[in-house]
């Protein structure tokens, strides 16, 4: 499937065959193969759709198999959770991340590899000779994007929590716009694009033509400057992630996800990238829409709109002391685990203060940063142990949402008569 395209790009000049050169029998594609190439294109499209399906299934399987997996938490602050969005990011990378930029990135890499072959007087580029530069390219790309993700996450973490919620909503909307762009719904969406300055473009192009062994490394790292819509969407998500580590993780997972297809298609004639893009588009769009939904939901939760979650366990606060005396108080307990607050609905009586006990059991990640946006309460919970929060008396009928600092987990406190 991976037809090296460099043979037509840069044919080595008339040099005497070197001993290094591998005898190659493959002739360059005959120009009269239009009908044939259409058939190949169709088969290629089918094969890609099959790969997309398999990739989706394996990602889903992996997600289910490892749903208990938790990542180590950084000192104090919440970071990576075994949450859905990271898997969706991976799926996005797997389905379309390797393709949307393949036209230019793959072209650069292919030119560089071909130039290297000319440099070394190798007649044609063998698969083996491609393996090292592609690995270097992807390795450098992974490193550069991970670093970029960390920086973006760090920038995001400096944004005050009030704006954080709006940022999450904005990022969600931005992702929906990227999906609109993918389907070319309106020319306006094509404005979502980033193009590096001409000077950098020239540097990239010149570097790819040099054919030095280190070119793939440099080119791979420089790809951070040639992002496409989907990459921009992931970068926005990294900013909204609110942590350097999580931002790094998002970008690393996305780039890793994009690697397999890049490996396979990196050299395929860029002509096929459009077709491949269309094959993978629905799957990627679904993943991105899901991430956008999660992001908007999280933002809304941080703003104090938690009412979307209606189901779940409910607990009613137990009243302590004399109900009519001034010392009356009620108490309720919430179990805090890595990916949940349980129960997620707490019913309290109006007019008397509440003592909320948050009991952590091996709690990791963002659940530890507990927020009640409506009351301006922010508390860092221990990994194991109990934290007490006093709530003032409330009006009947009010719903007070609580959430983790990232708006991923949460619930409601319902005030009844």
């Amino acid at each position: 499937m991976s037809q090296p395209s460099q043979s037509r790009r840069r044919r080595p000049s008339q040099r005497p065959p070197s001993r290094l050169a591998q005898p190659q029998t493959r002739a360059s594609a005959p120009p009269s193969a239009t009908a044939k190439s259409i058939v190949i294109d169709r088969r290629f499209g089918l094969a890609l759709t099959a790969i997309a399906g398999l990739a989706a299934l394996s990602a889903l399987g992996f997600r289910l198999a490892s749903s208990g997996l938790s990542l180590p938490s950084q000192a104090g602050i919440a970071i990576a959770d075994p949450d859905a969005s990271l898997w969706l990011v991976f799926l996005t990378g797997l389905s379309i991340g390797g393709l949307s930029c393949v036209a230019v990135q793959g072209g650069l890499l292919a030119t560089s590899i071909a130039a290297r072959a000319v440099e070394r007087h190798a007649g044609a580029v063998t698969i083996r000779a491609q393996l090292l530069p592609v690995t270097l390219f992807l390795g450098a790309k992974l490193l550069a994007y991970t670093l970029l993700g960390a920086i973006l996450g760090l920038v995001g973490s400096k944004i005050p929590i009030g704006l954080q919620a709006w940022l999450m909503i904005a990022v969600g909307l931005f992702m929906l716009m990227v999906v609109a762009q993918m389907f070319d719904l309106h020319p306006l969406f094509r404005l979502i694009a980033f193009r590096p300055p001409k000077a950098l473009q020239r540097l990239l192009r010149a570097r790819s033509k040099q054919g030095s062994a280190s070119s793939p490394l440099l080119l791979g790292a420089l790809t951070v400057f040639i992002p496409c819509g989907v990459t921009l969407a992931m970068e926005a998500l990294a900013i909204a992630s609110n942590s350097a580590l999580r931002g790094a993780l998002i970008m690393a997972v996305f780039t890793l996800g994009s690697a397999p297809l890049f490996f396979v298609l990196g050299f395929a004639a860029s002509r096929l990238s459009g077709l491949a893009f269309r094959s993978f588009r629905p799957l990627a769009a679904l993943a991105i829409v899901a991430i956008a939904g999660l992001s908007i939901h999280a933002g809304a939760r941080l703003l104090g709109y938690g009412g979307m979650r209606l189901g779940g366990e409910t607990v009613t606060a137990t009243q302590l002391g004399d109900p009519v005396s001034a010392a009356a108080i009620q108490s309720a307990e919430i179990q805090v685990r890595t990916a949940s607050y349980s129960p997620s609905r707490v019913r309290i009586k109006a007019g008397i203060p509440t003592r909320l006990s948050l009991v952590s059991e091996q709690a990791q990640g963002c659940v530890r940063a507990f927020l009640i946006p409506g009351l301006g309460i922010e508390r860092m919970l221990p990994v194991d142990g109990t934290e007490l929060i006093e709530l003032p008396p409330a009006e009947p009928g009010t719903v007070i949402p609580f959430t983790c600092s990232m708006g991923m987990y949460g619930g409601n406190i319902e005030v009844v008569q």
């Binding site: 036209a103 762009q181 192009r205 496409c228």
Partner: protein, 74 residues
């Protein structure tokens, strides 16, 4: 560059991100006689300044096709 260069506009079909525009520019600028190529993803067009004695419209179109897109002289 004392030759009289001409500028031709093409509308481009099939671009899905700004990288596509870059790859069209690069493919065109690799041709002999092409002084400048400016592809706009937002407008879905490319503007090529070239020397008609050194390259032809067909050559430009096939370069665009090589980059993976369909061009129509506008």
């Amino acid at each position: 560059m004392s030759e009289p260069n001409i500028t031709q506009r093409f509308s481009i079909q099939g671009m899905h991100c700004s990288s596509c525009a870059m790859s069209i520019d690069w493919e065109l600028e690799d041709l002999p006689g092409v002084a400048k190529a400016t592809t706009s993803y937002a407008r879905a067009t490319t503007e090529v300044t070239f020397d008609p004695h050194q390259t032809s419209l067909e050559t430009l179109l096939s370069a665009i096709e090589r980059a993976g897109f369909k061009g129509l002289p506008a």
